[in-house]
């Protein structure tokens, strides 16, 4: 019994998966309220699925990349659940969840690209061979800098939709937002195949913004 959630995109999404099928899912989109909405969303899907927390055998969490403040909400929640319940926490790249969901909604039989909004006019992105197989490490770039690498490829995710001049193959039928149901289903498949998961640590991809003060500022007028 898996409890899955992801806060690495504007969506706050949670789902319960019993190893065979998704039992409940809830997704809200509110880029500034991950901290407020995640626990109520988790509570809602557990109730709807009729599952008690002590029946949960694993936590699945999207590890990003994504805007840091929201991303950390999901990761610290997963780590705390894992510790309090004594169950493993399985990290899954957020872009993998979006790729998997796209594969369910659309027949993507060749390579494609997933991109989310990294703000500051950049995208988080990766290339996929098929909806279950990522072939590049997730990266953060200005769309114009990767135009050659993604031109003509089918593209999914809110980052692709934001920059259609670069992501020329945007698929209108693929879901735009992350879905914990897709994340849980993907994790369930990987567990069944005995595959490795990512550690439940954030994929920040950028160093923290920090300015070293430029020497001591004189306060006395010269």
């Amino acid at each position: 019994m898996l409890l899955a959630f992801d806060t690495a995109t504007p969506a706050i999404t949670a789902a319960v998966h019993d190893g065979t099928a998704v039992r409940a899912e809830s997704t809200q989109v509110d880029a500034r309220r991950h901290g407020e909405l995640l626990l109520p969303t988790v509570d809602e899907v557990l109730r709807e699925a009729g599952v008690k927390l002590d029946a949960v055998t694993g936590i699945v969490v999207g590890v990003g990349p994504g805007p840091y403040t929201g991303l950390r909400v999901g990761l610290v929640t997963a780590a705390a659940f894992g510790d309090a319940l004594g169950v493993p926490v399985y990290g899954v790249c957020t872009l993998d969840g979006i790729a998997y969901a796209a594969g369910q909604a659309d027949d993507l039989d060749g390579p494609f690209v997933v991109a989310t909004d990294a703000r500051r006019k950049e995208v988080y992105w990766a290339r996929y061979g098929d909806p279950r197989t990522r072939i590049t490490d997730p990266a953060v770039d200005r769309p114009a800098d990767i135009a050659d690498e993604v031109a003509g490829l089918p593209a999914v995710g809110a980052g692709a939709a934001l920059y259609p001049e670069v992501f020329t193959g945007v698929r209108p039928q693929a879901p735009v937002h992350q879905s914990a149901a897709a994340l849980a289903a993907l994790a369930s498949e990987r567990l069944a195949r005995g595959e490795e998961f990512l550690p439940a640590l954030p994929l920040y991809l950028r160093r923290p913004d920090a300015q070293v003060p430029a020497g001591y500022k004189l306060v006395m007028p010269k």
Partner: protein, 352 residues
């Protein structure tokens, strides 16, 4: 006493990941992980660096606190967390962790005020707070005189700084002197070798028509900086110890004078001091002397409980439980500017 509430408290409002465990007024554990060294080269706390460090330290610090306390998470009567004020992204890590533990363990959640926690921590040192409590709260972000008839529900502000906080002044003067960050502890150390009367720095807002209980430290900081620059411009060496001692004297003189005045005006026979600057050795000594002379009982926790820690949050949480205050909702937000007059954030509809 085993029937007193057993509460775990989480503090992540700035650069300390603090987790404390208390039973009523008894301190059982006080685990702190700090990212201060990572901020030092920037001369101040970098919010994103602090938030990243909180995420890494959160679960290990909770595990350490429970182990130190020798209690099991399932025995807790509640989980308290700093809901504000503080750095938004840093607060959010602690609030999210507290919610998940409370939810997973089936315990009530108490989002509490960082400033009220700095006061309530003294219950771990000197027993129940008198009511009302007169408190001088001095830290890196705040300098306030507070009167609290009930620390869980009624905290009133008599006055506060109109510009820099006391700790901020210590940090800025230390930077001018090239002593690094945080400045409070270093200035405290240098000042011991210096002459507090060497330089007469100004005492802000102490004129006859100035507000009685407000503070101002920005003018003092500027005046210290000018004094140092004048020496440097003249090619003289700066007497660091004397500057530190004289600056520290000016800060502690104003703080204690106004605090004692507030006690007298309100007929309160004791003074509680809390916050990082209350760790200052000169402030503690001067307050001791002046309170004794005025017949006021001084209550100050040991220095480690004055700077940010989780035990203070647990102490206030335990008082919330003891007084039957409403728990917070699962929607509890992190509020970077939570007013000092709101000791906790009760739920709108009661969480399970």
């Amino acid at each position: 006493m085993a029937d007193e509430p057993l509460v775990l408290g989480i503090e992540t409002s700035c650069d300390e990941t603090g987790v404390g465990v208390v039973r009523g007024h008894t301190l059982l554990a006080d685990a702190v992980a700090t990212s201060v060294d990572e901020h030092a080269r920037f001369g101040g706390v970098v919010p994103e660096v602090a938030s990243r460090a909180h995420l890494e330290a959160m679960v290990p610090t909770i595990q350490r606190a429970l182990k130190d306390a020798g209690v099991s998470a399932s025995d807790l009567d509640g989980i308290a967390v700093t809901a504000g004020p503080g750095l938004a992204g840093a607060l959010l890590v602690g609030v999210s962790a507290a919610k998940a533990y409370a939810y997973a363990l089936g315990k009530p959640l108490y989002g509490v005020n960082h400033l009220a926690s700095h006061i309530c921590v003294d219950q771990l040192e000197h027993g129940a707070l008198p009511e009302p409590t007169m408190a001088l709260l001095v830290s890196g972000g705040h300098s306030s005189l507070l009167l609290a008839p009930d620390i869980t529900s009624d905290v009133r502000s008599l006055g506060s700084t109109i510009d820099d906080a006391a700790g901020e002044a210590f940090d800025k003067v230390a930077r001018v002197l090239g002593l690094g960050f945080p400045g409070g502890p270093v200035i405290d150390r240098y000042a011991r070798e210096g002459d507090p009367d060497a330089i007469r720095f100004p005492r802000g807002l102490t004129g006859p028509r100035d507000p009685l209980y407000d503070f101002s430290f920005s003018g003092l900081k500027t005046s210290v900086a000018r004094w140092i620059e004048a020496r440097r411009a003249a090619g003289e060496t700066v007497p660091v110890a004397d500057v530190a001692a004289s600056f520290q004297e000016a800060v502690t003189d104003v703080l204690t004078r106004k605090a004692i005045r507030a006690c007298k005006d309100h007929g309160v026979d004791h003074l509680m001091m809390g916050g990082g600057v209350a760790a200052n050795s000169r402030l503690r000594a001067m307050a001791e002397e002046r309170c004794a002379a005025a017949g006021i009982e001084l209550r100050v926790p040991r220095p480690k409980l004055c700077t940010d820690n989780g035990a203070m949050v647990a102490a206030l949480g335990a008082e919330m439980v003891a007084r039957g205050r409403a728990a917070s909702d699962w929607e509890l937000p992190a509020d970077s500017s939570l007013p000092v007059t709101e000791p906790h954030v009760p739920g709108r509809h009661h969480a399970a």
